[in-house]
């Protein structure tokens, strides 16, 4: 299992599409920095194909006022959870 990390806003390029196209069936995706915009209910459908394997970083949601606005299908983790995700994955790939 690999962890894919996306830090770019959904509208800032192709990072999300590229991450999704490189994900294997059990891989996970973590949204950090402006990537957490993708957790908004109006944008989260982009991630429908990986439901249950989509994470977003608590600190970055909170700084942006998105903490109670994110879609409930996104699992929120804090930075300790980020470390745990990297422990559980054999490798990480970053898409920026």
């Amino acid at each position: 299992m690999k962890l894919h990390i996306v830090n770019r806003a959904p509208d800032a390029g192709r990072a999300v599409e590229q991450a999704l196209s490189a994900m294997a069936a059990e891989d996970r995706l973590l949204l950090i920095e402006d990537g957490v915009q993708g957790a908004l209910p109006s944008l989260v459908d982009e991630f429908a194909s990986i439901e249950g394997r989509l994470y977003a970083l608590h600190e970055d949601l909170e700084a942006r006022g998105l903490m109670n606005r994110h879609d409930e299908r996104v699992e929120v983790v804090d930075v300790e959870g980020f470390v745990t995700l990297t422990e559980q994955a054999e490798r990480t790939l970053s898409w920026y």
């Binding site: 990390i5 830090n7 920095e33 300790e80 470390v83 990297t86 422990e87 490798r91 990480t92 970053s94």
Partner: protein, 130 residues
């Protein structure tokens, strides 16, 4: 586990440096070892010794140096990316006939081969892009 971080974003221009530093602190707190932070692309600007951010903002250059002092993390800066961007230690400055320097210990200028080595020898490499 043995971790390495690859940082490619400039400080104060995007969040990558903040994210990387916070992640580094968290993995160390969790008991892992952080061998190296490798600075490439605009990440090399994190080694600018003269950085003078406003006092109410985090001082990222000092943040990296503290990580070295407290945990022995090596701070490796890609030399090719750094020279282009005006980041020279005393040795490179003198080699290029320039007075003064803009990079100092604990940051070390090193070849890109170190990135590949560290990426393959550590258990985890986590990249923070701009």
């Amino acid at each position: 586990m043995r971790y390495a971080i690859l940082l490619m974003g400039a400080p104060y221009s995007d969040q990558a440096s903040h994210s990387a530093l916070r992640f580094a602190r968290a993995l160390l707190a969790r008991g892992h070892r952080l061998e190296t932070v490798f600075f490439y692309h605009d990440g090399v600007y994190n080694a600018a010794r003269l950085a003078a951010p406003p006092q109410d903002e985090p001082h990222l250059v000092d943040g990296w140096a503290a990580l070295h002092a407290e945990h022995g993390v090596t701070l490796q800066v890609c030399i090719a990316a750094a020279l282009r961007r005006g980041l020279l230690d005393e040795r490179e400055a003198s080699r290029h006939g320039k007075s003064g320097h803009s990079v100092e210990a604990p940051f070390e200028l090193t070849g890109l081969g170190q990135l590949v080595d560290v990426g393959l020898s550590c258990d985890r490499l986590v990249t923070f892009g701009p």
